[in-house]
């Protein structure tokens, strides 16, 4: 099956001369969860805006389900739901009306039962007759999600969905994301919170300076870039690493009270066992040990800084 979204050589230069996208190629598979990471101003929102039809591209093209987003906009846009980054709402509308309005502009016949189901799922049912200006920021975020789901999209874009969101909403949101994924909905989210991408995404793309620096399966990415660290707290101060331990990648803390061993996923796990026995043989004793795996965040920072 062809990818649900295919971005080809996409460029965007705004009228003030700012080059937001510098030739992006990206295929998004059906039913996957793709996380786009990148600092502010990287071009993530511009990319999403072009796919959704809010901004005209300068060059290149985007196909959604095989249809061009400019020429065949009715086909492509009706497949997509968008939860924008900003909390933009019609302050004087009620929750019920604004969600029903969304379904209407997408050309779907009214379906009160569906709207009720969505509002209940997002814990908005009790607020359905409230005006949007009476809602808290988190509640407004829920409304924006409900609006995006009101026309039963096959692709859902979540632009920074968890910015300024509390724990319960985050939990509700991931529940919804999980259900949608089971229904086969493709989900693309942008985020600064790398733990989030790490937790739910299938693939991760890193965008910076209008370019896609990297696109990979999350697990493969973690394997390739992920380093592990073993930290040993020593019982006695060590002046220097004994020459017998030179074969291991070791570094000694300045105060001489801890040793750090770096290794990668690929290295066989018995390197730790042999290190520990070598330490015992050298008469170095430790009182505690901990390991740490580098997160997507470390990978991301390393990548962005490297290319900058």
């Amino acid at each position: 099956m062809p990818p649900i979204i295919s971005v080809q050589q996409l460029t965007k230069t705004y009228s003030n001369g700012f080059e937001a996208l510098k030739g992006i190629d990206l295929d998004i598979e059906r039913g996957e969860i793709l996380a786009l990471l990148g600092p502010n101003g990287a071009g993530k929102t511009t990319l999403i805006s072009i796919i959704c039809g809010i901004v005209n591209p300068t060059g290149g093209k985007v196909l959604v389900d095989g249809h061009d987003v400019v020429k065949d906009f009715r086909r492509t846009r009706s497949l997509i739901g968008l939860v924008p980054q900003e909390l933009t709402t019609d302050q004087f509308e009620t929750v019920w009306n604004t969600v029903s309005f969304s379904r209407g502009v997408y050309g779907k016949k009214p379906n009160p039962a569906l709207i009720e189901k969505i509002l209940r799922e997002l814990s908005l049912w009790k607020k359905k007759d409230n005006m949007l200006r009476e809602l808290s920021g988190g509640m407004k975020r829920r409304v924006l999600i409900a609006k995006a789901l009101s026309h039963e999209p096959e692709v859902l874009f979540l632009d920074e969905p968890t910015a300024g969101v509390d724990v319960s909403l985050r939990r509700d949101m991931w529940e919804v994301v999980k259900r949608l994924r089971e229904e086969g909905v493709t989900i693309i989210l942008t985020t600064h919170y790398i733990e989030e991408a790490e937790e739910i995404a299938d693939r991760v793309g890193v965008v910076n300076g209008g370019q896609l620096l990297l696109l990979q399966e999350k697990t493969a990415l973690m394997k390739q870039f992920g380093r592990k660290q073993l930290k040993l707290e020593l019982t006695e101060k060590l002046e220097m690493i004994p020459p017998g331990l030179a074969a291991f990648e070791l570094s000694l803390a300045e105060d001489g009270m801890s040793l750090v061993h770096e290794y990668s996923h690929e290295e066989s796990q018995d390197s730790i066992a042999s290190l520990l026995s070598a330490l015992t043989a050298a008469g170095i004793h430790f009182r505690d040990l901990s390991t740490r795996q580098s997160s997507l965040e470390d990978i991301f920072v390393a990548l962005v800084e490297e290319k900058a």
Binding site: S15, C52, R77, Y106
Partner: protein, 253 residues
């Protein structure tokens, strides 16, 4: 055609009118009633009739036009400007809606509001002065065409405006002088020849004149020319909007 979308946008805009009933309906009616009391009854009683029509009756079509133009430009512009300002326009731009459908929704609602207010003012006027409508069909035609044209004009301003000042500049500073100087309160025959010639450059003159003709069969210019002028202005607005939509001007740029 995405009829559901047109219905939604139109319904949304009309709901906004119901919410702001005081501001959108009652205030223009009060303002116009004041005009009738001051010009029609108080001052008008001392002014001799114009071409056989009492002064109060004479100014009624002009007053309706004044309100219709102001309201249509204001509603047409705020309808599209407000979502642009708050950011909610993202939804309409990302929906499977053609620009023509967006236009029908917003402009249709703005024109409807303008028409409703125009008819309310006509009804109000009949309490103060004698109203006679010689050509009801033409009267409605002028009213509808003017409402649509100026709502389109408002839409253009709404797309163009980058802030509230720009949004208000046309309805506040351009429409009232054109209306006042377009013969709403006098026949341009009363002006010296030079100013009569200048008045013919004012598009509102043609609207007021044609509209007044449909009431009392008196006109400053031939009513056919009036209709043609409205048609020209309508075509002009549509082509500007066509260009805006094609280029994505200030909406999708």
């Amino acid at each position: 055609m995405n009829f559901e979308a047109i219905k939604s946008i139109y319904g949304f805009e009309m709901a906004r009118m119901r919410r702001t009933l005081m501001q959108s309906v009652i205030s223009p009616v009060i303002t116009t009633s004041l005009y009738f009391i001051v010009f029609g009854t108080a001052i008008g009683s001392r002014i001799q009739s114009i071409e056989g029509v009492s002064y109060g009756s004479f100014i009624t079509p002009g007053l309706i036009m004044l309100t219709l133009l102001t309201q249509c430009v204001a509603n047409g512009s705020i309808g599209i400007y407000f979502p642009k300002f708050t950011g909610t326009i993202y939804e309409i731009l990302s929906a499977p809606v053609a620009m023509a459908e967006i236009l029908i929704g917003y402009v249709g609602a703005a024109a409807t509001k303008g028409l409703i207010i125009g008819l309310i003012i006509l009804a109000t006027a009949s309490f103060f002065v004698d109203i006679r409508i010689a050509h009801p069909f033409m009267m409605v035609l002028f009213l509808v065409l003017t409402a649509i044209t100026f709502s389109l004009f408002g839409f253009i301003i709404g797309v163009w405006a980058k802030n509230f000042e720009q949004l208000n500049i046309v309805p506040m500073l351009v429409v009232p002088p054109l209306t006042f100087l377009g013969g709403s309160f006098y026949s341009i025959d009363m002006l010296p020849p030079f100013w009569q010639a200048v008045s013919h450059l004012n598009p509102v003159l043609y609207l007021v004149s044609g509209f007044r003709w449909s009431f009392y069969e008196i006109a400053d210019v031939n009513p056919v020319i009036s209709l043609v002028m409205i048609g020209v202005f309508l075509a002009l607005c549509l082509s500007v909007i066509g260009w805006m939509f094609k280029t994505g001007y200030r909406l999708r740029s």
